[in-house]
């Protein structure tokens, strides 16, 4: 594949094209959520889709997170393939009942009779000075729930390719799009197809340490790896991509090669996905370790507004680099 046939796409456009393609491929697919139609999507993801597909399939909803997420579940049970957009994860808490008590539980409660093929997309993440109620990273928290799948596309390719695979999945899939990534550009071949949603990816190979991350933190980890490389430390950077089910094989294999693991997660540290990953390394790769597993997470505060405070609360490139140096330097 040469560069001239590659297409430059933002993450936002990648999601939009994924929705457009799904809508064309399968007329059971429709998009609904607050301001997805006439407004064009609160992050402009669905801009232009209303014109192409009309208000029945690009369906503006009232401010009723529980109501329209539940309606999406019902529509999925009724034979449709809804993509429900919740503006951000913060507001999804108003639909937590439907997501957790209904979508995640229906198949099991019914002894396998009723699966719920719904895709729920939402923006996530902090770092934009929006203060506590607009800055949460709760994808790890959702990953606690059996019965749903939790995707966290970091790259433009995954933003483009995960949606269709999620729509083909018979069970509820939550897709978390870090709002800080929407403007990120990437090069994709025009014939880019769906991608798997069950495997983590090694985004940079290295032999000295495994940095395990996902979503926006992936790029901070990659930047840190770049800095570290100049100092002779070769960090392997893993993009989890999917938080449930967790592909532990990829990170356990990596740790077996590098003997060190650092988890970088914008979520909080207590009771978190980073704690889960750390536990799994303890359970399955303890004797491979040359140093204790470390975690770099958000400070345990509701994210503050002031820029310097928010920056201090979130994992940052310099902190990742410093922590890696400490880990590599002091042990083994």
């Amino acid at each position: 594949m040469t560069n001239d046939v590659m297409q430059k796409l933002t993450y936002r456009e990648a999601v939009r094209e994924a929705i457009r393609e799904a809508m064309k491929k399968d007329d059971r697919v429709f998009l609904m959520g607050e301001d997805v139609g006439r407004y064009g999507g609160c992050f402009a993801v669905s801009k232009g889709l209303l014109e192409d597909f009309g208000p029945t399939r690009i369906r503006d909803t009232p401010l009723s997170e529980s109501g329209f997420v539940g309606a999406g579940i019902g529509a999925a049970l009724g034979g449709m393939r809804p993509i429900v957009e919740v503006m951000t994860v913060n507001f999804s808490l108003l639909a937590a009942d439907q997501i957790i008590n209904n979508a995640a539980a229906y198949l099991h409660m019914s002894g396998g009779l009723f699966n719920v093929p719904i895709v729920i997309r939402m923006a996530t993440g902090g770092g934009r000075q929006l203060a506590a109620q607009h800055s949460r990273s709760l994808e790890g928290w959702y990953a606690h729930i059996p019965g749903i799948k939790v995707l966290s596309p970091a790259t433009v390719e995954d933003a483009r390719g995960m949606l269709w695979t999620a729509l083909e999945d018979p069970d509820p899939v939550l897709i978390f799009e870090n709002a800080g990534l929407y403007n990120m550009e990437g090069m994709l071949p025009p014939d880019i197809g769906p991608v798997d949603i069950d495997k983590a990816r090694i985004r940079r190979e290295g032999k000295d340490i495994s940095i395990i991350s996902y979503s926006a933190s992936l790029f901070k980890s990659l930047d840190a790896a770049e800095i570290l490389a100049k100092e002779g430390i070769e960090a392997e950077v893993i993009d989890l991509r999917t938080l449930r089910p967790l592909d532990e094989t990829t990170f356990l294999d990596s740790v077996a090669r590098t003997h060190r693991a650092l988890i970088v997660d914008e979520g909080w540290r207590s009771g978190s996905i980073s704690a889960e990953i750390s536990s799994r390394i303890m359970e399955s790769a303890f004797y491979e370790l040359d140093a204790p597993v470390e975690r770099l997470c958000s400070a345990e505060v509701p994210l503050p507004y002031a820029r310097h405070l928010e920056e201090a609360a979130l994992p940052q490139v310099n902190k990742i680099a410093a922590l890696v140096k400490k880990m590599v330097g002091t042990h083994g």
Binding site: F30, G67, G74, P82
Partner: protein, 335 residues
Amino acid sequence: MKTKNTGKKKAAATNHNHAVHLLRSMIRIRRLEDKCAELYTTTKIRGFMHLYDGEEAIAVGVLEALTQDDAIVATYREHGHALIRGLSAGSILAEMYGKQEGCSRGRGGSMHLFDDKLRFYGGNAIVGGGLPIAVGLALADKMQQKKRVTCCFFGDGAVAEGEFHESMNLAALWKLPVLFVCENNLYAMGTALKYSQSNMDLAGKAASYDVASVAVDGMDVLAVEAAAQKATEVIRFKGEPFFLECQTYRFRAHSMYDAELYRTKAEVDEWKKRCPIATFTQRLKNEGLLSDADLEKIEGDVAQEINEAVAFAEACTWEPLEDLTRFVYSERRMS
């Protein structure tokens, strides 16, 4: 003259058959619930269990108005709805026993009865949680140009939930074929309606969302049936939602763990005089549509049905422990 006579006789026979069918349906629910209560005390059934005694006319009357294509979303007080929809008493009891031959393989219990072929979407134990699902099922029908009704049962307690209001608004806004059936038994656990609603006119609340609404005597199976028939006609014709408030009373405790401190025995007794089964039986007898022999036959048949269901549940098997984590994710891909 002759034709007319035959017609009259035919109509009378139809009336008779239909009346007996309605009565039989209500008695089937009552006897199933009696058996459930008994099995609960002998610990064959565990967990939370909510019985429907006193409210039978609603499930029976409303389900008469539905076709096999229509969908049903119910609450945790749904044994009667499931039975009348066509789930066998055996599969219902087996479910409550926790057996793998139960309608939900023993994964749901009393509060989560399901049947895909009968479009019975459960047994939802979150108060108000089923309403948005019903809205979505109707949305799917509308988008697929399927002329079907989704019928959603819920209690008076659910009317205070946000999901009720969100669902009314969505169903009216999008003109969706949902029959909302509020089983107003005046209590949400121990909280009387007057302690939970600033305005106790529940049908009026639905009307405020531009949902056509009617309140009906939920102790009168014919009244419920007629109202539901009319409601479903409107829904099918206009493709718009309808709200049916059925005013009723629960004769038993809220669940099996309820000391009933919040109401008097006198109040319960007063309502029991309006028992939908007793009053309908009397009415049919008065009108000459029911003989003692008819009644005996119904009771005999139902007793046999329930006994066979218990025997079935007893004989059913436990799902092997290796299967514990099945049905968390689908075992088949789909297209």
